[in-house]
Subunit: 264 residues, 2 copies
């Protein structure tokens, strides 16, 4: 029985990855969203009578911040969203805007124009992990997540991969900037290459000296270093507000959807 | 026939205002959102196969910026949104977050803690105007809008009014900061008072010296003056990203929904 669990998990992961891959190439199915009625909660954190759609949009618009978990009542809604067409459509929209912006730029093509890409839920998807952990209703389990990452099987987010390749063709260089720690660098690089992110100017992982500091602090510091080295951050894309806030954020920022977790 | 038009408009406006007022007090009806399929557009501005929901969320999340009109295909969707329960639920969520934040603060109650409120689509609703102008699909008609404003009959957004009163009860002072020009000050003050905004520390309208400058520039400058006078901007709420970006934005900002127009 114990030996079966990893196998079952792996098969489930493969199925999910297929689902993501198929949805990625599928355009066209209308997605009806039925907002769930949120029950009255205690402690003031849950808001009576507000749909999960309101919650999701609140997260995307930086109105709901510093949250630890998806509201219990929204597990089904968020699961449906993450596995369905709306997530694909929303991601496609963001990436299309990013590309429309990038192609209007007058680029010098001197190799110094860079686009900063976050990794988790931006370049790669951890949905296979989160599908087994209540789509964000469970408090973050670092130990468990750090068993998933080294498998190196996170799929590419299809719209992000498409954007990545389009930016490269415009002569823009890619810098991956991630909160993943230094010791996960090698497996992350392997995972990225395996799913199609074949080249980058830099892959910046988090040095232990940043432990205890916020993501905004870390990412701002690293972007500042890049600019001091002479790079021009013409675009910056991430799934967390902490990827695109702070200093040296870049000429324009784009936020991919992420109603599953929040990093401050 | 010509004399009938203002009367018909007025009656339609009254009906719309009733609709807003009734929705404001109504909690509970599930609102099904059916994203429209956007047709392939020319010129690169419209994005094939992306639902109007993706568009709306893109606007709220600052991914879609500098837009002049709502995409033609989304007129019905935006109209439904603005007249329906989702807009009310989304607004309620934002205002609930704002109040949850405000009541955690340790306030000195020295009269210097202020909350900056935008006016259009934040304190007051111009929905009766926009319902007659395609819910934002028509290019902005300043002349026509400036016939509507002096009527002084814009209704209060119910969730904003509720938040306003709750903030006052916490000892927070209100500063209205609006892009409406100085010559509309008197009618704006009258409109605000008529619908329940009974008091304020300041009502700041736009001085002619700001003509040609962006909204971000104007509002940042005015907020800076407030802070130089010793006020502490503990919160800032508006429907436009330009209300909450720039400098001296306040300790925390909140964005109310507005998929109808964009001010940069």
């Amino acid at each position: 029985m114990r030996r079966m669990k990893p196998l079952v998990n792996f098969v489930a992961t493969l199925i999910l990855m297929l689902a993501i891959a198929c949805h990625g190439s599928e355009h066209g199915v209308n997605f009806n969203i039925f907002p769930l009625r949120m029950k009255t909660g205690s402690g003031g954190h849950y808001i009576p009578d507000v749909s999960c759609l309101s919650w999701r949009v609140g997260v995307e618009a930086h109105n709901i911040i510093d949250w630890k978990t998806v509201p219990q009542e929204c597990e089904g809604y968020i699961g449906n969203y993450m596995l369905g067409d709306q997530y694909r459509a929303d991601s496609k929209m963001v990436c299309a805007q990013a590309y429309l912006y990038a192609k209007t730029l007058n680029l010098t093509r001197d190799g110094r124009d860079i686009w900063v890409f976050d990794i988790d839920e931006t370049a790669l998807s951890n949905l296979p992990y989160y599908a087994h952990h209540g789509f964000g209703v469970e408090p973050f389990d670092r130990e468990s997540f750090n068993e998933w990452v080294p498998l190196g099987i996170a799929p590419a987010l299809p719209e992000s991969l498409k954007l990545y390749n389009k930016l490269l063709s415009l002569g823009i260089k890619i810098v991956f900037l991630t909160g993943r720690p230094d010791h996960q660098r090698e497996i992350t690089a392997k995972n990225l290459k395996n799913v199609g992110y074949h080249t980058w100017k830099k892959l910046i992982t988090k040095d232990p000296s940043y432990v205890g500091k916020t993501a905004v602090t870390y990412e701002s510091a690293e972007r500042k270093k890049l600019e001091e080295k002479g790079y021009r951050i013409i675009g910056n894309i991430g799934d967390q507000w902490s990827d695109i806030l702070g200093t040296n954020t870049g000429n324009r920022t784009f936020k991919l959807p992420d109603p599953v977790y929040y990093i401050s």
